[in-house]
């Protein structure tokens, strides 16, 4: 059953170049890490898909990279504003893993803090484009941080970890080669977020799958 509610904004805090948007939890459950939420983007036509970053009691925290009109509208909210939120939606990370290693790149770090909490703070490896962006690493306990030109894939340990990752597409593709069984959180522009519109369909092993239903987290083989 779909759940949508208007949540009130508790805080809007800068984290490096990103913005942490804290909402009162209301009727929305945090779900499984890696699931997605459709956040109303004030003044825009479409809501924007976001992963949950933090889930302290009574709150939902989203980490937002203000790259375009929708994410900027979200980053410009003020405490007390109300925001329509639909979710949790789709499939998140499987948590029944033995040796979890969280890997994140850039804003792909977003789902890792909540994931880390739910897994009891496993080790993490996170990469950023600059020291400024790397300030977000403070949200992930036990994180090793690399900054470009170093890439996370260069620091991936040899041993057989269960990789759970989120980040830019080239990073996910590289990880899939290095760790074929990795759980990877993919992205595609989405309009509805719950399977109605087929905007987020990607070809997966020869079949078209809606990333908002089958994903966003997939084990291995996307495209």
């Amino acid at each position: 059953m779909l759940r949508r509610a208007a949540l009130s904004v508790l805080g809007v805090e800068p984290v490096g170049p990103y913005t942490l948007l804290r909402l009162r939890r209301g009727a929305i459950r945090p779900g499984v890490p890696g699931q997605l939420f459709m956040l109303e983007a004030p003044g825009r036509l479409l809501p924007r898909p976001m992963s949950l970053c933090l889930a302290p009691p009574g709150e939902l925290g989203f980490l937002i990279d203000p790259i375009g009109p929708g994410t900027r509208a979200l980053a410009c909210l003020e405490p007390g504003d109300e925001l329509g939120v639909l979710g949790p939606l789709g499939h998140g990370f499987r948590l029944d893993v033995e040796r979890p290693l969280l890997v994140g790149g850039g804003i792909g770090i977003a789902p890792l803090p909540y994931l880390s909490e739910r897994l009891g703070h496993p080790p993490a490896l996170v990469g950023f484009r600059s020291e400024w962006h790397a300030e977000a690493a403070a949200l992930v306990p036990r994180a090793e941080v690399v900054v470009e030109p170093t890439l996370v894939t260069e620091r991936l340990p040899e041993e057989p970890w269960d990789v759970l990752a989120c980040g830019p597409e080239p990073m996910l593709r590289a990880l899939r080669r290095l760790a074929p069984s990795a759980q990877l959180a993919w992205e595609a522009p989405m309009a509805c977020g719950y399977g109605a519109c087929y905007s987020c369909a990607v070809e997966l092993d020869g079949e078209w799958q809606r990333l908002c239903v089958e994903g966003p987290v997939l084990s291995g083989g996307l495209r």
Binding site: L2, R44, L46, P69, A188, A191, Y198, W208
Partner: protein
């Protein structure tokens, strides 16, 4: 004129709000919202299953939405077997949007839907901007479908033609029972940083606010040349958008894009519509159908009417980002 048009609205006092063929809402996942509509048009179903177009399939622009879904659907077989029975159980009148790539493809699907009591009406998608290839003229397709079905047949047209009125008359002559106006216009958006097309197919279909004046014009023009009932759509987001379509000559209003941002839109728009119509002195919104054709000479409102009292609004107006002049 207004009298003829008003007939199209039927006896209901409740202004009919329907979902357009778009997949902007999934009736099975959101049944409560689906039930707040007076009818529900499926996404277009084609003879064979279609995966649709390569990603990216959706892009929001300043004034509208571009999509390039490419008629992704399960095909008529799987639709009849797997989806239709479940949609039928919702208890909302169901229209099926039928697509094809030649007149016989459309007709074959119509024939198979003919015997299904769950289906109230058929809409022929004669105007998808995301598939290539001419499918024969609109009238040919309507004619072929008319032969195989007694269900109401609506012709869904695009505004991207100079002779829309002629097309409307041609499909009426071919046996259509109504018009659905309008489908999307062809549009393009580029990524600001790479200057590459944002959609995988480059061009896509433009819906949402940018379509409003174009949809209104199409409904108005067709209402003047046919007596077919019209389902009006294109950028409806507020009660006043729906009221304008009714006034232009639509007897039903369909919602699409607005549902992405506001899934509760049907109830909200219905309430706003009733309020706006009452404010203008109509007992029901259905009474406003065709009102824009009221004056035979087509003269516009005079200054005097403009100066009549009207609620004074507040300063909490957003500016129109579309005319933002900062770069």
């Amino acid at each position: 004129m207004a009298e003829t048009l008003r007939r199209g609205a039927g006896p209901e006092r409740r202004p009919p709000l329907i979902l357009n063929a778009s997949g902007c809402l999934d009736a099975l996942t959101a049944p409560a919202v689906a039930r707040s509509l007076d009818a529900f048009v499926t996404k277009t179903v084609t003879p064979l299953p279609r995966g649709g177009n390569p990603p990216v399939r959706i892009a929001e622009t300043d004034v509208g939405l571009l999509n390039s879904i490419g008629l992704a659907n399960l095909g008529i077989d799987a639709f009849l077997e797997r989806q239709l029975p479940r949609l039928g159980e919702l208890g909302v009148p169901l229209w099926v949007s039928v697509g094809g790539f030649a007149a016989d493809g459309y007709a074959a699907s119509c024939a198979r839907l003919e015997g299904r009591p769950e289906v109230e009406a058929l809409e022929l998608n004669l105007s998808c901007p995301n598939v290539d290839g001419a499918a024969g003229t609109a009238a040919e397709i309507v004619l072929a479908c008319r032969r195989v079905t007694a269900k109401p047949l609506y012709a869904k047209l695009s505004a991207a033609t100079w002779d829309l009125g002629e097309t409307a008359r041609a499909v009426e002559a071919a046996g259509a029972d109504g018009l659905s106006l309008v489908n999307t216009l062809r549009g393009l958006a580029l990524d600001e940083r790479t200057l590459q097309p944002r959609l995988g197919t480059a061009l896509g279909g433009l819906s949402g606010p940018a379509l409003r004046p174009v949809a209104l014009a199409a409904v108005y023009a067709c209402a003047r040349v046919t007596t077919l009932p019209i389902v009006g759509m294109g950028g409806v987001a507020r009660g006043r958008d729906a009221l304008a379509l009714l006034a232009a000559g639509a007897s039903r209003v369909a919602l699409g894009t607005v549902l992405f941002g506001d899934p509760q839109a049907p109830a909200r728009i219905r309430a706003e519509l009733a309020e706006e119509a009452a404010l203008l002195g109509f007992r029901t919104p259905a009474e406003a159908v065709g009102a824009a054709h009221g004056r035979e000479d087509g003269r516009s409102a005079t200054l005097d009417q403009r100066l009549r009292s009207f609620p004074q609004n507040t300063c909490k107006l957003g500016t129109n980002e579309a005319v933002d002049r900062r770069s």
